[in-house]
Amino acid sequence: MLWIAREVELVVDTDAPGRFTVSGELPGDHVAPRRSVVFDTTATTPGRRVERFRLPGNFKFQLIQFEFLASGIARLYSGRIFAKPLGAAGAWGWYALPIPPTAEGWQEAALPIEPTPEAWTEAALPILPTPEGWEEAALPIPPTPEE
C-alpha cells in the first residue's frame, strides 16, 4: 500500500542536539533519507518536550524508517506520524512510531531492607527455671545404729 505522510511528532528530552531522520524507499526503490531535522530540547525546557516537524509535501512511501542520532543523552518517550493511505478510502490518521511506551505513572519497588515486624517477639532469658515444688535432700548426718 502506498502512503503519504505530512507530519511527525516526537516526545523527547535531549541534553544536546539530536538528529531525527525519516527515510522512505520512493522514489528510487531504495530506502534513503527524505527528511532530517536537528533539535535540542535543552534550549527550550529542562524536561521532555513535544517536537513536531513537517515532511516534504511529495513524501510518499510503502516502507518507512525512523532513526535518531544522539550527541548527548537523549530519551525518546513516544512518537507518531500523521499519514494516510493513497488510492484508498482511508482518512488521515496518527500512527505510532515503534518506540517502546513510557508509562505515565510511577511504579514502586521496596528497598531490600529486612522487614521489621510490628509486634514484639519474646525470648526467654538464660535463667534456669525455679521448680514450683520442693525437693528433699538428706542432711549429712551419719545414721545412728539401733543396737
Partner: protein
C-alpha cells in the same frame, strides 16, 4: 542504545538515627557505567523512628539506570536503624548516550 532503562523519582525510608545523621546513597550504572553514586541524601537524626522522603527528581537530579544499588549508614558516632523503604521509578522508552543511534526497521505503516 538501551531500552528498559529506569528513571528514579523518589526514595522513601523509615529509619531511626541517633547520635548523628545517617546517609543514603543511590547508585546506578547510567550514564557511563560502572555503578557509582548519583544521589546522596541525609537521614536526619532524631528521637524514635521517622520517615524521610527524598524527592530525587524535583531536586534537579535526573537519575537513570538499569542496575540500581543503595548504600546507607550512620555518620561518625551515630547509630542508624532501617525499618523499611521504597523507590518509585518508571521505564523510559528509549535511552541514548552520546553518539548512539536508535533506528527502526523499514516498516509498512499498518504494522507499527
Amino acid at each position: 542504545m538501551a531500552e528498559g532503562i529506569k528513571q528514579i523519582k523518589d526514595i522513601t525510608v523509615v529509619y531511626s538515627a541517633t547520635g548523628a545523621n545517617g546517609f543514603i546513597w543511590l547508585q546506578t550504572d547510567m550514564p557511563n557505567a560502572p555503578i557509582q553514586t548519583r544521589f546522596a541524601g541525609a537521614l536526619i537524626a532524631g528521637s524514635g523512628r521517622q520517615t524521610a522522603h527524598l524527592d530525587v527528581e524535583s531536586t534537579g537530579y535526573d537519575i537513570h539506570g538499569k542496575l540500581v544499588q543503595f548504600v546507607a549508614g550512620p555518620e561518625s558516632g551515630g547509630v542508624l536503624q532501617l525499618f523499611s523503604g521504597k523507590i518509585r521509578f518508571r521505564t523510559i522508552g528509549v535511552y541514548l548516550l552520546s553518539g548512539e543511534l536508535w533506528k527502526s526497521q523499514p516498516l509498512t505503516l499498518g504494522s507499527t
